[in-house]
């Protein structure tokens, strides 16, 4: 059976005065099985761009990495990074051309900070793109868009943006059927991208899991 795009992945994004904040849930699950609870769905496309993706794991990671690597190629070839609009347009083109061949079932949010300031682009899996101030994908959208409409204001500070996202996450944890315990929050501003926690403090990027026997603490028990 073909992998189907489910709506269970939660992606949220808000734009503020000089930053864009993206949040994604951390569970990778299909059907009734949860594969892992520490999945990072927000990809750093380059120093000042983020792309949050949702969809079947293969499509999601494949598409994200494809866009990321092509943007890095552009950077190397032209010695200047692409603007956020350019990057979003490139991603849209790729999705649109694949739409009638072998479509990627990836919904995404592309956020970036460039000369024109912060911008957030909502992109459907069918490649319809729109620049927005606040966005959400999937079932999460049904719960959070109205919260964002109510509490988001123009030119928000990072604290205000975080408080809106906290309200959104609280709404999801109260009313959404699927358990969404942890979220990964990333912000992009003039200094680049960074991972933050709910209070706005920068956190270290999660260490990638290694598979060396020496690193595994369980192996010491075997000795």
């Amino acid at each position: 059976k073909r992998r189907r795009l489910t709506m269970a992945d939660i992606l949220l994004g808000v734009t503020g005065k000089d930053y864009v904040l993206l949040a994604a849930d951390r569970s990778a699950a299909r059907s009734i099985i949860v594969f892992k609870n520490d999945e990072d769905k927000i990809l750093e496309l380059d120093s000042h761009k983020l792309m949050a993706t949702s969809g079947p794991q293969g499509d999601r990671t494949n598409f994200g990495e494809y866009i990321q690597r092509n943007l890095q190629l552009y950077n190397l070839a032209n010695s200047v990074p692409l603007s956020t609009h350019g990057a979003a347009n490139f991603a849209r083109r790729e999705l649109a051309e694949a739409l009638r061949r072998s479509p990627w079932q990836v919904n995404s949010l592309i956020a970036g900070f460039d000369k024109k300031g912060p911008s957030l682009y909502y992109m459907d899996y069918m490649a319809s793109m729109h620049k927005v101030d606040k966005a959400a994908h999937g079932y999460g959208a049904y719960f959070t868009l109205s919260v964002m409409d109510r509490y988001c204001v123009k030119d928000m500070s990072l604290e205000e943006g975080l408080s809106v996202l906290k309200k959104c996450i609280h709404e999801l944890q109260t009313r959404f059927l699927l358990k969404c315990n942890s979220f990964i929050l990333k912000v992009v501003d003039k200094d680049g991208t960074r991972i933050i926690d709910m209070d706005g403090n920068t956190v270290e990027p999660p260490k990638p899991k290694t598979f060396n026997k020496s690193d595994d603490s369980d192996s010491k028990a075997d000795e």
Binding site: Y122, M126, A127, S128, Y142
Partner: protein, 204 residues
């Protein structure tokens, strides 16, 4: 739900006296969810040719990029701007090229042709054109638009009257359609200027 109703839209074009008006709603929705309220569906091709597209947003965006490319090539080769009837023919053939895997858009073209004669044309998704001298409609609210335009349209309206008529027609029609609305954008194309207004309508 039909693929043409996935995003939702209402587009109308009307002829007046030496002017044409083209208007659309501004909702960007994904089925029943409204994502944004500032989506343009009417695009300027050049000063005297505008195209409004109703249907699937992704195909609308792809087609706008393709039309702009073809128009730039036309202008390079011909060293003049394309006429609206020629552009309508171009749109029609580009849509028919995809006859067995079509773009899901139903465009409406409005412009001023030779001697600033008003020109409007609408097509279905495979490029079958219809030319009239009164009004043409497209989108999920097309049936509502037919009714209200038929009632309110009069020939040879001056630009300001035409603007009023088109605005009232569009707003009345999209108010009855849940998939269209959330603002409206009207262009009135006259020989010497283009009046562009954004209307704040019922935000539901």
């Amino acid at each position: 739900m039909s693929i043409l109703e996935y995003n939702g839209s209402g587009v109308v074009a009307m002829c007046g006296k030496n002017c044409v008006a083209i208007a659309s709603d501004m909702r960007y929705g994904v089925q029943q969810t409204t994502v944004a309220t500032d989506m343009h569906k009417v695009y300027k091709m050049h000063d005297k040719v505008y195209i409004g597209m109703a249907g699937l947003a992704t195909d609308m965006q792809t087609l706008v990029q393709r039309f702009r490319f073809r128009l730039k090539m036309y202008e390079l080769r011909e060293e003049r701007k394309i006429k609206p009837n020629v552009f309508a023919n171009l749109v029609s053939s580009m849509l028919y090229q995809k006859r067995f895997g079509p773009y899901f858009v139903e465009p409406v073209i409005a412009g001023l042709g030779d001697k600033n004669k008003p020109f409007i044309c609408a097509m279905d998704l495979i490029g079958a054109p219809v030319y009239t001298d009164n009004f043409l409609v497209s989108g999920t609210s097309s049936e509502e638009l037919y009714g209200v335009c038929e009632a309110m349209y009069r020939p040879n309206l001056e630009p300001d009257d035409l603007f009023e008529t088109v605005s009232q027609c569009l707003q009345a029609a999209v108010d009855r359609d849940c998939l269209a609305g959330w603002g409206a954008e009207v262009y009135v194309i006259c020989p010497d200027r283009v009046i562009h207004k954004t209307l704040k309508s019922r935000q539901d």
